[in-house]
């Protein structure tokens, strides 16, 4: 929830000035992808090329490229990382997805925002970008939902941003 940024950072009214700034990639017909279904995904796999795949930026910053559709506390600030949960929590197997562009290679990746569950809210690094977010009737792209409904504990702690595929060009 972007409007909550203020609350946490105690900067009033900054929202009105900054809310138009974000938007790395718009909601572009991205995929209905559950993280637990990855083995079935017909997506491109990492190649064994000579140069190393690259990312750039601070994974603890809301501006980081993977967070384009995120809405929640970043696990990278909570004792986890972009693709791992903090100690003692549980990763929800189902979630919503977004499609974000890695600025280093220019590719669009399918990002799965699996929630980490089972401890009180992390309450650090609140990040609300919502690009491509859709209402509840498109649950695959809906970040208002508490996706810990798929975990053994329904208590939301933080959100990861896991690369689960490359989005094909259409």
């Amino acid at each position: 929830m972007k409007f909550l940024d203020q609350l946490f950072e105690k900067k009033a009214r900054s929202l009105a000035q900054t809310s138009g700034r974000r938007g790395l990639l718009k909601g572009l017909g991205a995929a209905l992808v559950g993280a637990s279904s990855i083995p079935l995904l017909p997506v491109a796999r990492a190649s064994e090329g000579p140069s190393m795949p690259k990312e750039f930026g601070d994974e603890g910053s809301c501006d980081y490229w993977r967070y384009c559709a995120v809405d929640g506390f970043l696990c990278a600030c909570c004792g986890g990382s972009t693709n791992s949960c903090p100690p003692g929590t549980e990763m929800s197997p189902i979630t919503w997805i977004g499609t974000c562009t890695n600025p280093v290679d220019g590719r669009n990746y399918v990002i799965s925002y699996n929630d980490c569950c089972g401890k009180t809210q992390c309450n650090s690094c609140l990040c609300q970008r919502d690009e491509g977010d859709r209402p509840l009737y498109r649950s695959d792209k809906s970040n208002d939902v508490n996706w810990c409904l798929g975990a053994s504990s329904s208590v939301y702690h933080c959100s990861t941003a896991i690369v689960v595929g490359i989005a094909f060009e259409k």
Partner: protein, 420 residues
């Protein structure tokens, strides 16, 4: 008997009353009266100009154990505030607030707990309201239970708790996660696992009637006498018709009228005279007639002119619109909208006469607007959840900002409901 105090600015009195504490095992310590003069303080601003009059009779001793109650009919200026407590979700609650109360300390009328992003519904005719909440046995751990709690509006105490067995919807709060039939015989409860269904609950017998699947379609928008319309992943609607016992009689599809990727609509409507008004992200207003047995799509019109669209105006917010009892619709507009800004709020409130499909007023949100609500009655007040998560009160006739309500237990008050 009492030390005479002539100068309240230098008040120091030595007292000792009798020693009694029921159930306390501490050895009472005899105190010997005169204490050190270590600290001389001025009295508070509250009292500094008062000259004590010891000839007045002493204050009566007061009873303990007194608990307040509320009227069975809530005044028009009261609202239910859904305090979701986003960063501490065990602490969610409904706050009953008089938004017209001039005295700060009298704003809050009472509260009801609502654990783990619970859902709320309000009755217009029954002296009760409904909270759907969840608990794990050990806070974040252990088996989970979903409970419908029926609250007494007068005592703010639970009347009955009903265990529900279908995973209830847990999402950021909205007005339509639990709804009532027109005659308030049935309560409709959204489930989401993410398989979608709704549970029919009989408010007379206080028992669950049935749970009806709505594959791919979410939320229970009450329709006609005994129907429920849901909004579907392909841009269509699904109306479920119940029989008089609350069981499913039939289901009907309304053809797709929007593209959920390209032309998404908000799933948070306002209602005026049986029509549900569903704005789109980009500023179209879709009308759905919910007054008959099956929902009927009535077409769309634009909230914004071509110029405004080009300039970037879009509707947006968590609870982005509401209607008043005169049939006017209030909606939050963001002059710098984009796909991604839909829940972020906006900088103005626009007022529409939906019959003529014209904007009749607009005014600035004094401190940004995330949610909007309007009180009941002929002279409604507009209540805006602002960017600091306080409430700004605005007179919709003049568009004039009246005041900001804060420190009423609010942290993230993102949905407001009319109170009855």
């Amino acid at each position: 008997m009492l030390t005479k105090i002539n100068n309240p600015r230098l008040m120091l009195t030595s007292v000792a009353a009798s020693l009694l504490l029921l159930g306390c095992t501490a050895t009472p310590v005899a105190t010997d009266g005169v204490k050190s003069l270590a600290q001389l303080e001025t009295v508070d601003s509250n009292t500094v100009n008062i000259k004590p009059d010891p000839s007045l009779p002493p204050l009566p001793i007061e009873k303990t154990g007194k608990i307040e109650v509320l009227p069975a009919k809530y005044p028009e200026s009261w609202m239910f505030v859904d305090e979701v407590s986003f960063q501490s979700q065990f602490g969610g609650k409904m706050i009953i607030l008089d938004v017209a109360e001039p005295k700060q300390s009298k704003l809050i009328k009472g509260t009801a707990d609502k654990n783990l992003v619970g859902n709320f519904a309000n009755s217009k005719t029954r002296p009760e309201f409904y909270i759907l909440e969840s608990f794990h046995e050990r806070g974040s751990r252990g088996p989970r239970i979903d409970l419908l709690v029926i609250y007494d509006k007068v005592t703010l105490s639970p009347i009955k708790e009903i265990v529900l067995t279908h995973t209830r919807l847990t999402a950021l709060p909205r007005r339509d996660s639990m709804t009532l039939s027109a005659d308030e015989k049935f309560l409709y409860i959204a489930n989401f696992s993410p398989a979608a269904s709704f549970t029919v609950f009989d408010l007379d017998s206080r028992e669950v009637v049935d749970t009806i699947g709505t594959p791919g379609c979410v939320l229970p928008f009450p329709t006609g006498e005994r129907s429920i319309t849901s909004i579907c992943s392909n841009g269509s609607l699904l109306t479920t018709v119940l029989d008089n016992n609350g069981k499913k009689a039939s289901q009907h599809r309304v053809a797709p009228f929007f593209d959920t990727d390209k032309t998404p609509i908000f799933e948070r409507p306002s209602y005026i005279d049986g029509i549900g008004y569903f704005p789109s992200f980009a500023g179209e207003m879709h009308e759905i007639d919910l007054s008959n047995e099956v929902a009927q799509y009535k077409g769309k019109w634009s909230l914004i002119s071509e110029e405004e669209r080009t300039a970037g105006w879009r509707p947006g917010g968590m609870t982005l619109s509401d209607s008043d009892e005169q049939g006017l619709l209030y909606i939050i507009m963001n002059e710098a909208g984009f796909d991604g800004s839909q829940t972020h709020g906006g900088n103005q409130i626009w007022v529409f006469d939906v019959k003529s499909r014209t904007r009749i007023a607009k005014f600035d949100a004094p401190n940004w607007a995330v949610s909007v609500a309007v009180t009941r009655g002929k002279k409604p007040l507009v209540v805006v959840t602002n960017g600091e998560m306080n409430l700004d009160i605005i007179d919709p006739i003049t568009g004039k900002f009246i005041r900001t309500l804060s420190d009423f237990g609010n942290v993230t008050p993102i949905v407001l409901f009319k109170a009855y």
